[in-house]
């Protein structure tokens, strides 16, 4: 623990660790020092000069080294001639800080007067008005009237797009540099900067496309004026009109805590609508940041029950070959009757965007009828995560020197940007990062060791690491042995084994179900063998493709490799939050009777016999379990739309019609049942999930100037589950089934293997409705090595016919020398049917002439 230092701030005695800045020490003592450029998450720069305070230091006698005393015995304190910046000055023993004197007040007024000379004072039309640090501090400390002649103000551009997502108002900018520093220090996307100097200083972007960063939206939260606004929210509403609802981002397994800002508005027909997504502080999950997907991709939830969107509004039952609207009673009766008849012939297929409560009810219903459940996913290993997942209390913020992080088969920058951000910061604190991948990814920049393997050898690479550590070498196939001979891999393995804490994140790049199951097992073996399980900051994390896949595993759902056959042979197929027919036309042949429970009329829903419309997660409550196995609550952001029900309620009501004991009214009561029946969730309830503790830095209170407009978390930090290993269960090693197939065996006649990759912004159902993002989403494409392209005579950008799993689709050719030869990278959810590594045929599409 750092040495403690005691000082006095405005008469209040404060004890803080050595090295703390005065501004933070004051904050901890409940004293606000006004700031613009300082931000507790970034290095101080002392630019805005707003935080000026008087600082006195005890006088030390040079001869004796003792503090000189006044006549009354108190230490003699010497104040400097000038005001000093509280944001750049570290505390020292016996320091006396005065922030409430007339001198300091005058200094603050001076600085505010300067800032306001160039400010347009357009608060009445400014998006920041109402939550603006400049506005608030001017009210608190500013001069009452202007001495600067209005006509002498500098006129500058007010609508400068820095990209499609973020707009700059140059007149409002006060040159605090928070955005520039965020992009370079925190996001490491230094794509904006200062141009010119003096009063002409302006923020510019120098990337193509403009402001090319997945974290750009955060700059609008920390901007202390209305200079940076999002294209999504600007001129959308005034902050004081907004209600807020705590929620969890549903776009990836990180589980970022967010707040939906909503308002009831005329232009939406008097309905309550979401106006924007703001980060909500959870220092163990997302700190005070979110990625741009989380911020902008929420639009898929809109229009529930209004008929103004693609959302389903009422139950549909197929009559005379057509889907016809019916009442809920009728639809549920039809479904219940069919389920009864099907009995064990019922197959329930659920997607990972459902809440724990939905999944629990689905499992209860299906098991109650003797049917089978399946998880619709392309990634496996959730059972292993439940055993050797990260220990309770795991927090990337606690990882630094002594921690080793291994990322395998995942491009984290694309798949879970906030984990990327936090791992980068852990490395900056001294953590050791190993990135194992088949191609270079952005995270490798921070890696101490890079392990390169050919696609198909993901598990082999991890086993090779393990093998290189062990004297007794299990008889492993030759590919493993070959990898194990690589000195870089051996060094990485040694470093991982020797670290105090070891964490593994595995993903699904280049993998399908079998491959990811093998990889998860290999990772589990490495963790078990190196004793990196059952403790905080140790264990396994799955980089799932959807927000609650871990929850689905925990509720008992498992993917199945024979899904297509099972679907065909099921008597009744109940598809919830999944669209297999949309993803792959060959899955369109369902069994005898198909029930689809959905937000949209998906391709699968179009084939259904009954379609049950449900509420978006913003219209109800529930819980998700993150990749770090943190169970977190989300709350309704907008009222329940008429005519729609929550998934768990639909399932519950079907169950009740069948005489099963299911909860159909309150999500909170479903959680109580989960807690009583699922060991890992024992003791959980919605009250516990809503518990909070004080977090540092303090954000989101009255003083938005300090931390920005991120919301304070008063609705729950969630509960991280203990994995079996932490609860004392024995976790034996198991040797994975080896995909001994090499490339040549899997590849097509042309020798090309398709490897799936994951993109942050894809054409999936929960992204595409956000039209703002379209400019950042390319046309369907595949990526291949220029050498392969040369052989096939494919120029860059050429339109290709890509045949995968028997389906031919058009896609553009992206040439990328980082793609290994013989491999075609196929992004998931981009219109091409890819589920795992598969042979692929590509040829130039014939130009159709009229």
């Amino acid at each position: 623990m750092a040495k403690q230092v005691t000082l006095t701030i405005d008469g209040k005695q404060v004890t803080v660790p050595e090295g703390t800045l005065i501004v933070d020490a004051a904050k901890k003592a409940g004293i606000d020092v006004p700031v613009f450029c300082y931000h507790p998450k970034m290095e101080p720069v002392g630019m805005c000069r707003m935080c000026l305070v008087e600082i006195g230091r005890p006088v030390i006698d040079r001869a004796t080294g003792q503090v000189v005393k006044e006549a009354d015995g108190s230490p003699k304190v010497q104040f400097g001639p000038k005001l000093e910046t509280a944001c750049t000055t570290p505390v020292s023993e016996g320091m006396v800080v005065v922030g409430a004197s007339e001198k300091v007040k005058a200094g603050r007024e001076d600085i505010l007067e300067f800032l306001l000379t160039s400010h347009p004072l357009d608060c009445p039309i400014c998006d920041k008005g109402g939550e603006c640090p400049l506005q608030d501090l001017t009210m608190g400390f500013g001069p009452g009237e202007s001495r600067f002649i209005f006509d002498e103000k500098m006129r500058m551009d007010k609508h400068v797009p820095l990209g499609e997502l973020i707009y700059l108002d140059r007149e409002r900018c006060i040159q605090c540099g928070r955005c520039v520093r965020f992009q370079s220090e925190i996001a490491d996307d230094p794509v904006i900067g200062f141009y010119q100097r003096g009063r002409s200083l302006e923020i510019v972007t120098f990337s193509e496309p403009g402001f090319d960063s997945y974290f750009s939206g955060n700059t609008t939260d920390i901007c202390p004026v209305g200079a940076l606004t999002t294209a999504d929210f600007r001129f959308g509403a005034r902050p004081w009109e907004l209600n807020n609802a705590a929620s969890i981002c549903s776009q990836c397994p990180v589980g970022c805590n967010i707040t939906f800002n909503t308002r009831r508005e005329a232009r939406s027909g008097g309905r309550m609508v979401i106006k924007r997504v703001m980060p909500r502080q959870n220092e163990a999950v997302n700190e005070i940041w979110i990625c741009d997907k989380g911020r902008f991709a929420y639009h898929f939830t809109e229009g529930g029950g209004s008929g103004n969107s693609e959302r389903l509004t009422q139950p549909l039952v197929r009559k005379n070959g057509e889907l016809a609207p019916v009442s809920w009673d009728e639809a549920l009766q039809v479904v219940a009757e069919r389920f009864r008849q099907a009995g064990s012939g019922l197959l329930t297929l659920a997607g990972g965007r459902l809440s724990n409560e939905d999944l629990f009810n689905l499992r209860q219903l299906t098991q109650g009828l003797g049917g089978q459940t399946a998880l619709y996913t392309q990634m496996a290993g959730g059972d292993l995560v439940a055993q050797v997942g990260v220990g309770q209390g795991t927090n990337f913020a606690d990882m630094g020197a002594g921690s080793a992080i291994l990322v395998v088969a995942s491009d984290l920058h694309e798949e879970a940007p906030i984990w990327y951000l936090r791992i980068k910061q852990a490395v900056e604190r001294g953590a050791m990062l190993i990135v194992a991948g088949a191609r270079p990814t952005r995270l490798e920049k921070y890696a101490a060791h890079v392990v390169r393997y050919p696609y198909g050898s993901e598990a082999a690479a991890i086993l090779a690491m393990l093998n290189s550590l062990s004297a007794k070498r299990p008889n492993l196939p030759e590919p493993v042995q070959a990898l194990a001979r690589s000195p870089e891999l051996q060094a990485a393995a040694k470093a991982f084994a020797g670290a105090q804490n070891g964490l593994v994140l595995y993903g699904s790049e280049g993998l399908g179900l079998e491959g990811s199951q093998a990889l998860a097992q290999a990772c589990a073996n490495l963790l078990i063998s190196t004793n990196h399980i059952g403790r905080a900051n140790n264990g396994l994390i799955a980089v799932w493709q959807r927000a609650n896949e871990q929850g689905a595993w925990d509720m008992g759902f498992r993917p199945r490799t024979d899904l297509a056959e099972a679907m065909k042979s099921a008597r009744v197929l109940y598809v919830v939050a999944a669209d297999p027919a949309g993803d792959d036309p060959s899955m369109a042949e369902a069994g005898e009777f198909l029930v689809v429970q959905e937000l949209f009329l998906t391709d699968t829903a179009k084939l259904a016999d009954v379609v049950l419309p449900v509420e978006a997660y913003t219209e109800r409550e529930g819980s998700f379990t993150s990749g770090e196995r943190r169970v977190q609550r989300f709350y309704p952001a907008v009222p329940e739309p008429a005519g729609l029900k929550a998934d768990f309620a639909v399932t519950g009501q079907i169950g009740q019609l069948l005489g099963l004991d299911l909860e159909a009214r309150f999500a909170s009561k479903v959680m109580l049942r989960i807690a009583s029946q699922i060991a890992d969730y024992a003791g959980l309830d919605y009250v516990r999930l809503a518990e909070v503790v004080e977090q540092w830095p303090i954000v989101g209170r009255g003083d938005v100037y300090y931390g920005g407009t991120s919301y304070e978390n008063s609705q729950g930090l969630g509960v991280q589950l203990a994995p079996a290993a932490q609860r004392g269960a024995a976790v034996p090693l198991a040797w994975p089934e080896f995909a001994s197939q090499s490339h040549s065996q899997q590849a097509s006649a042309e020798g090309l293997l398709a490897a799936p990759i994951n993109r942050l912004l894809d054409r999936g159902q929960t992204v595409w409705p956000s039209t703002l993002l379209h400019s950042r989403i390319p046309q369907p494409y595949v990526a291949l090595n220029p050498a392969d392209a040369a052989v096939l005579r494919i120029p860059s950008g050429a339109m290709l016919q890509v045949t995968l799993n028997g389906t031919a689709r058009l896609a553009a050719a992206h040439l990328d020398e980082n793609v290994p030869q013989g491999v075609v990278l196929v992004p998931r959810s981009m219109g091409l049917p890819i589920f795992g590594p598969a042979p692929v045929e590509i040829r130039r599409a014939e130009v159709v002439s009229a």
Partner: protein, 424 residues
């Protein structure tokens, strides 16, 4: 001046030729230092000589070198050749005409702090001088005075020139380091100071060209010899760049402690047309205006005496203002310069210089009232003590001293306006 120490080309015209420089004891100090002195001994001699920084701050040079953090390596030397202060043109003459003495000074400093690389940061307009220095540096490499294993001692040193892009602020040492690193030229927070956190975060000594040019002779002839020039606390000689309303403007190398009167009337030939001297700006645009009365003229130009008449010696770019010059006009010109050169990093300087420019412009154009003069004074006072670096702090010196000491000039400007306003 009987003998030049810095502007030696005035006595030895070809000293810019390496052979001639070496014939005149050139590089003997460097050879002596590298082959027979410990690095700390070099620093000690410089410390003992009383040499103070000639860039403006007057900080003891040897003391600065001794602050270098010996626990962090590598070390760097950066020679500040950004010479941007209005009225300063001394470093240019040294580099153009006596380049080897300057380069030897850089090399001695590098040896003293055991730097193997030194940079010479020149203002962008000095591109010809940079090319000139590059040729001289190449000659030193050929002559075995730069490179690896110098004089067989294992010490190696390389020099590089670097051109700025035309910003006054890059003469501020931390902004210069930023610029040298390829970043936007804005000053850093201090502390930490360059001797502990300088170029690329490494311990760095930044010295002005003139300061470094003193060093070879100090090492060669000793600290006591150097102390024979100047005053006790301001030892040595100084190049005074004399400009403005004076018959013979130019660089004058004189011992510190020479009076203004001697510089202006004996060396500078007095005021043109026999006009009356009115004011002196002893440190370029960053200077307060001294009322040029008898007492001021008899003030010795050294680091201690000039403050007594309400200014600083700074880089000793002495600008003479005579009775034909109107002070509001002068202040307006000065503030236009600071507004143009403010880097924009800190609020008071960025906003304050812009505001002051509008006020001085109005005052100078006769479109202001006395209230505007008072406001100008307020704004300048408001800037004082709140800036991130010295540029902002210095930008107000001329304004405040101008209004206080030449009030009648402002009254005259404003009076005209007030008369117009009161006319029917």
């Amino acid at each position: 001046m009987s003998e030049y120490l810095l502007l030696r080309h005035r006595q030895i015209p070809d000293i810019g030729n390496l052979t001639v420089y070496r014939q005149n004891e050139g590089f003997q100090a460097f050879h002596k230092a590298v082959t027979s002195m410990k690095p700390e001994e070099v620093t000690e001699v410089v410390k003992a000589s009383g040499l103070r920084g000639r860039g403006g701050a007057g900080f003891p040079t040897g003391l600065k070198w001794s602050f270098i953090d010996k626990n962090k390596w590598p070390h760097y030397v950066v020679a500040n050749a950004d010479e941007s202060e209005p009225g300063t043109f001394k470093d240019r003459e040294i580099m153009e005409n006596n380049p080897f003495q300057f380069l030897e000074g850089v090399m001695l400093c590098a040896y003293a702090i055991q730097a193997n690389v030194a940079y010479i940061y020149l203002r962008g307009e000095f591109w010809q001088i940079a090319a000139h220095l590059d040729r001289k540096i190449a000659e030193l490499h050929s002559a075995g005075l730069l490179g690896d294993n110098l004089f067989g001692t294992g010490y190696s040193l390389r020099l590089y020139t670097h051109l700025g892009a035309g910003a006054y602020i890059c003469g501020e040492e931390t902004a210069m380091l930023e610029s040298l690193e390829g970043k936007l030229g804005q000053p850093r927070l201090r502390p930490p100071f360059p001797p502990s956190f300088g170029l690329y975060g490494m311990p760095t000594v930044v010295n002005n060209v003139e300061t470094l040019t003193n060093v070879p002779l100090i090492i060669e002839k000793g600290a006591a010899w150097y102390r024979g020039y100047g005053t006790e606390k301001s030892a040595g000689v100084k190049i005074f760049s004399l400009s403005g309303c004076v018959n013979k403007p130019g660089n004058y190398e004189l011992p510190l402690g020479t009076t203004f009167r001697e510089l202006i009337y004996e060396h500078g030939g007095g005021i043109p047309g026999g006009r009356q001297i009115k004011a002196i700006m002893p440190a370029g645009a960053s200077s307060s205006l001294i009322v040029a009365n008898e007492q001021a003229l008899d003030t010795p130009m050294d680091y201690e005496s000039v403050p007594a008449v309400g200014a600083q010696l700074g880089s000793a770019s002495v600008i003479i203002i005579d009775e034909s010059v109107d002070i509001p006009w002068l202040i307006n010109k000065t503030i236009h310069f600071f507004k143009h050169e403010s880097c924009g990093k800190c609020t008071p300087c960025r906003e304050g210089s812009y505001w002051m420019m509008h006020l001085t412009e109005r005052i100078d154009k006769g479109k202001a009232t006395w209230k505007d003069v008072e406001l100008l004074k307020d704004v300048a006072t408001q800037i004082r003590g709140k800036c991130l670096c010295a540029l902002g702090e210095f930008s107000i010196e001329a304004v405040l001293s101008g209004i206080d000491r030449f009030r009648q000039d402002f009254e005259a400007r404003v009076g005209a306006r007030e008369m117009i306003e009161t006319q029917p």
